[in-house]
């Protein structure tokens, strides 16, 4: 009986998760929520469309939408929010991982605090067509913010 109850609970949990992942994500709203958390030391500049693609070095991808927040004071802090096809997001995700690793090397001798931020970066495909990449001073706050947005 307990096993059945457990199964039911897990199923319900998964069902609810599945439902929440289908929520239509509005990138601008999620971006606002993230930027309002106090986990960014720098003043991040916001870019959209082609400018965001150029600065995020993603001009070779077909994207439905992109928002980029990036620091101009040489901190590694950054938010990238993207809507695109699932396959595209997978490729971008791999590229961002690679870039993140390379940046860790660049910052290691130069500003070790940034390496910690990069190591703890949040990189998730939060719905089928939405990716979030966020480098901040507190990844837990960012994850909570994302969950809170999804549950809204």
């Amino acid at each position: 009986m307990r096993k059945i109850l457990c199964c039911l609970c897990v199923s319900l949990f998964l069902f609810s998760c599945g439902k929440s992942s289908e929520k239509e994500i509005v990138l601008a709203d999620l971006g606002n929520d993230l930027i309002e958390t106090s986990v960014f030391e720098g003043d991040l500049n916001k870019y959209t469309d082609e400018n965001a693609k150029k600065l995020a070095k993603l001009t070779d991808f077909e994207l439905d939408e992109i928002i980029l927040y990036v620091d101009s004071g040489a901190l590694s802090e950054k938010i990238i929010l993207i809507k695109a096809d699932k396959e595209v997001l997978q490729t971008i995700s791999e590229r961002l991982k690679k870039e993140n690793k390379s940046l860790q090397e660049s910052y290691s001798s130069y500003n070790p605090d940034e390496v910690v931020k990069l190591k703890n970066a949040v990189l998730e495909i939060i719905t089928e067509n939405t990716l979030i990449y966020c480098v901040s001073s507190d990844y837990q706050v960012i994850e909570e913010c994302i969950q809170s947005y999804i549950k809204k």
Binding site: N45, Y47, G73, A74, K98, Y107, S109, Y110
Partner: protein
């Protein structure tokens, strides 16, 4: 014996400014200028140009062709055989020029073969720089419009990355990496593509190249090595972008706190030493030096605390000052 009237038509390609002013058909305006024959530089033109028109317009290839035809026609009406030399300028840099012989009925681009003028059938090789100097004399530097960065590329370290991310010059291209220095000029690769950063200079033809190095080299025991490596990089860029003006950006000041720590040799004293070497290098190599240090430094030669989060990298407000300085000092 040819009756030659060399007609020099100097078309100033001052893209941004002219586009703002321009109304209607640019070609018609250019033709109108020619027909009015309003501007004569007889006394100033050092070579064989009897008449010279200055037309401040942005013309496409079709318009240029038509302009050549109109020029021919006009000279024919005067019952003179004309050779037409069109020089297209952008911010005083010759970006293209054509020699057109009415007698032969053809028109060739001289961009890659240097200036040629025809005087009574003789071919004279002209000094491209002389023409440039004449024009500089005729149009004062202050009169030139602010620098346009649309055909520019910025290469350098985290300072350039900061400039890129500020979005203040989005029209330019950027080749930059945190920690990049001149010792790694030919070996540093892109974070993602792993392409050599130096090879990105070949992506397209630029008319201005801005270089920002030195911060990551301040701790080097021999500053002369920095200059030697920097020169190698500059020569390589010159070989790949032979028509581009090269601007060397000075090393920025740092905050008092950073100066006192002196980590990695980052001190005001070293910055001043390196900047002097950069200035000297620019004189020797005929490059443009941009004194960004003076733009940002306070009366003590320091970057004010409020100007930066980390005492090294300027905030957006300071970057705006730099961009304004460059608009005023990187016009050529």
């Amino acid at each position: 014996m040819k009756k030659i009237v060399a007609l020099g038509i100097f078309i100033l390609f001052v893209l941004s400014g002219c586009q703002e002013k321009r109304e209607g058909n640019p070609l018609k305006e250019a033709i109108s200028q020619i027909e009015k024959e309003t501007i004569f530089f007889n006394e100033l033109i050092p070579f064989e140009y009897d008449e010279c028109f200055q037309v401040g317009l942005d013309l496409d290839e079709n318009a240029i062709s038509e302009l050549i035809n109109i020029s021919y026609k006009k000279q024919s009406e005067k019952e003179e055989l004309a050779d037409v030399h069109l020089i297209f300028l952008k911010e005083n840099q010759i970006i293209n020029d054509y020699y057109c012989s009415l007698e032969e009925g053809n028109c060739i681009s001289l961009k890659n073969v240097g200036h040629v003028s025809y005087n009574d059938g003789e071919t004279i090789q002209l000094d491209r720089d002389s023409i440039g100097n004449y024009l500089l004399h005729e149009i004062s530097y202050e009169e030139l419009p602010e620098a346009d960065f649309s055909n520019s590329v910025f290469l350098g370290n985290s300072k350039i990355e900061g400039l890129m991310n500020s979005g203040l010059i989005l029209e330019a291209d950027y080749i930059c990496k945190v920690g990049w220095n001149v010792a790694k000029a030919f070996t540093e690769t892109d974070e993602v593509s792993e392409e050599l950063l130096i090879d990105k200079v070949n992506y397209r033809e630029y008319n201005k190249v801005f270089l920002m190095f030195g911060d990551n080299e301040l701790g080097w025991a021999y500053p002369e090595e920095f200059i030697e490596d920097y020169k190698k990089l500059i020569h390589e860029i010159q070989s790949r972008q032979s028509n581009a003006s090269i601007y060397i950006m000075s090393i920025f000041p740092v905050s008092k706190k950073i100066d006192e720590k002196g980590k990695f040799g980052v001190t005001k004293e070293n910055i001043l030493i390196f900047n002097e070497l950069l200035k000297k290098m620019c004189e020797e190599e005929n490059l443009y030096y941009l004194d960004i240090y003076s733009v940002l430094a306070d009366e003590n030669g320091m970057l004010p605390d409020k100007a930066s989060y980390d005492g090294v990298h300027p905030k957006n407000d300071e970057l705006e000052k730099i961009v304004q300085y460059m608009k005023e000092n990187a016009k050529l």
